[in-house]
């Protein structure tokens, strides 16, 4: 199911075009918004929330038109901004409850919910501390808590692991993974860190120079054309290669003892031929997997394409 549909969105800052005819569909679940710095990721998030008026184009978020129903969209969307932000002079629980009240929750409900969300984000012990005294990791968590407090249906996370140490990053990614799966909440994670996206997201949208370069599931993006198979042998076997080639199978030069082969047909059929050939030539098969490229390769290909 589609959570948001964006069509031909153009956003300009003076002469600079930040989004140039950008179109995409954000599906339910966890979606990564990938792109190098300055690609237009944050601009897209700010435009969805109505912070920036687009020059042209349309967008529908959770069934609401971005141009006419900004408030209704913001009622159902939570934003975790990239920059540190808080309400000066408040403790964590006051801040999060206040964010809930700003979203329309009655005071009592907002306080109850603030305690729940702070517990969920791992800030239960520090809830009465002034937010200004928080460490970077805690500030990231409190931003997530204030975005979650009113029970949004779509969560926009802008660089959620910015400035975190490795342990903090792991915890934040676990939190994002947890919130985005099985909670009835869709998440759009904007980041330029491929490992983060690969770890928490099911789908990705690749943005470059304000344009959509690729979108789909991570598995689709990583898959190679023709669905080649990587066959790992115990040791290199030229007779095995020759026998495969004689059967019309394309074999690429090995990487150590792994051969990438390509032939038409489903993997089960290919496996049958490979194992039969191995038996005939005395080669020992140690591995048999559908070959795929890394997300980094897929990303580099997407952003280098014109």
């Amino acid at each position: 199911m589609t959570v948001a549909t964006i069509q031909n969105l153009v956003v300009q800052y003076g002469n600079f075009t930040a989004l140039n005819g950008f179109s995409c569909e954000i599906q339910e679940g966890c979606t990564g918004l990938l792109g190098p710095n300055g690609a237009g990721k944050t601009t897209l998030i700010k435009t969805i929330l109505g912070f920036i008026k687009p020059t042209s184009g349309t967008a529908t978020v959770l069934g609401y038109d971005m141009a006419t129903a900004g408030k209704s969209i913001r009622q159902k969307v939570g934003l975790m901004p990239e920059q540190d932000c808080h309400i000066p002079g408040t403790s964590a629980v006051q801040f999060v409850a206040y964010a809930g009240e700003l979203a329309g929750m009655p005071e009592g409900q907002a306080i109850r919910r603030a305690h729940e969300v702070l517990d969920y984000c791992g800030l239960g012990e520090a809830r009465y501390r002034n937010v200004e005294t928080y460490s970077t990791g805690m500030k990231q968590r409190i931003k997530l808590a204030q975005a979650l407090v009113h029970g949004p249906k779509l969560l926009l996370l802008d660089e959620p692991t910015n400035g975190l140490d490795p342990a903090g990053r792991e915890e934040m990614l676990d939190l994002v993974r947890s919130v985005s799966h099985g909670k009835g909440l869709s998440v759009l994670v904007s980041s330029h860190l491929l490992p983060d996206i690969e770890r928490v997201c099911d789908r990705v949208i690749v943005v470059m120079k304000g344009q959509l370069r690729a979108q789909g599931t991570i598995k689709e993006l990583k898959s190679l054309e023709g669905r080649p198979i990587d066959v790992e042998l115990r040791e290199n076997s030229p007779t095995f290669v020759t026998a495969l080639q004689s059967k019309g199978i394309m074999v690429m030069p090995p990487k150590r003892t792994t051969y990438r082969i390509q032939m038409p047909g489903i993997p089960e059929e290919v496996a049958k031929v490979v194992y039969q050939t191995a038996r005939e030539t005395g080669a020992q098969v140690r591995g048999f997997v559908v070959a795929e490229r890394s997300l980094e390769d897929a990303f580099l290909e997407a952003i280098s394409a014109q």
Partner: protein
């Protein structure tokens, strides 16, 4: 580790929601809570009522003396020639400096600190509009300052009504309570509008406070200078030029005192320490309502519009 009975799983919120019209109140409420948490707020709020306290002490001793000495003293009583509404005007004038300090405490950082903490990203990413934000912040300054102005005035009014009806408190001006209700709104409107505008221009509450104090004291100096010039002219038996009377009201204090005089319908009368001719020399006649009211509304309106224009969730460089 969480206790085994703690349920830390995430649940969606599907409880009740307040109407969208009430968002400004959440903002105003937090501003008020943060203001009244400051000890300085209570100190300066109490100080702002000092003139009413002085009046009550003077009235108490006057009553004691006249009751003990008898009818001869009653003829000389201070109360016989008192213009009651002028006592409210004098107390209002004397509280100005303290109300300014209160505005500095409650208002100077109201938007500037939000700019520093990038809090507008929080406000405007919620279903809360720029209008809600401006109204909420404005009310967050207006409500405390108005209450601080109104409470002592109303208490003093009730005390005088109960004690001095026989001395003309009611008959001098039966509409005084209505006029007072209008008068006590003036500092709240003035300070919330001006501080909001100045605060919105800065990223630091202290800077905004410094600029606000500068504006206040520089304009206050104009009022003081005109008051002195007016008094010296009157002592020489000359009528001061109109420009002096008009410039007297060209300050943050002055415009409020001018508005209060227009609302109460009085030029004022000598304050207690300066009775007689000396006190009369210090009085500057009330300005024309047709001039001062539009100027007052214009200043407040432009200030709020300035604040409105400065508010954005993100800095967009064109």
């Amino acid at each position: 580790m969480a206790s085994p009975i703690a349920d830390l799983t995430y649940r969606n919120y599907d409880g009740p929601l307040e109407p969208a019209m009430n968002r400004w109140w959440a903002i105003a409420k937090l501003s008020i809570k943060l203001s009244i948490k400051k000890k300085g707020f209570w100190l300066w709020a109490s100080m702002s009522a000092f003139w009413y306290v002085i009046l009550l002490i003077v009235f108490y001793f006057n009553d004691s003396v006249t009751q003990n000495v008898g009818p001869a003293a009653q003829k000389l009583s201070l109360m016989n020639n008192l213009i009651w509404k002028d006592q409210f005007l004098n107390s209002f004038s004397e509280s100005q400096l303290f109300l300014f300090i209160l505005a500095l405490l409650t208002g100077a950082g109201t938007i500037a600190n939000d700019n520093r903490a990038k809090a507008l990203l929080v406000y405007l990413s919620k279903p809360c509009s720029k209008l809600d934000y401006v109204i909420g912040k404005w009310m967050g300054i207006f409500i405390p300052i108005t209450l601080v102005t109104a409470i002592p005035a109303i208490v003093f009014y009730v005390y005088c009504l109960m004690s001095y009806r026989a001395l003309g408190f009611w008959t001098q001006d039966p509409w005084l309570i209505v006029k007072l209700c209008l008068m006590v709104l003036i500092p709240g409107i003035t300070y919330s509008s001006i501080t909001l505008a100045i605060s919105s221009l800065f990223q630091q509450g202290r800077l905004a406070g410094g600029v606000f104090a500068g504006v206040y004291f520089i304009s206050y100096f104009v009022t003081l200078a005109m008051e002195g010039f007016n008094a010296s002219q009157q002592m020489q038996g000359q009528s001061p030029p109109d420009i002096v009377k008009n410039l007297f009201y060209c300050s943050v204090d002055g415009i409020q005192i001018g508005m209060a005089k227009v609302i109460l319908g009085t030029n004022g009368s000598p304050k207690l320490p300066f009775p007689g001719q000396m006190g009369k020399n210090l009085i500057v006649p009330a300005p024309s309502g047709w001039i001062i009211v539009p100027i007052f509304l214009l200043i407040c309106g432009v200030s709020v519009l300035l604040a409105w224009s400065q508010i954005r969730a993100v800095e967009v460089v064109n």
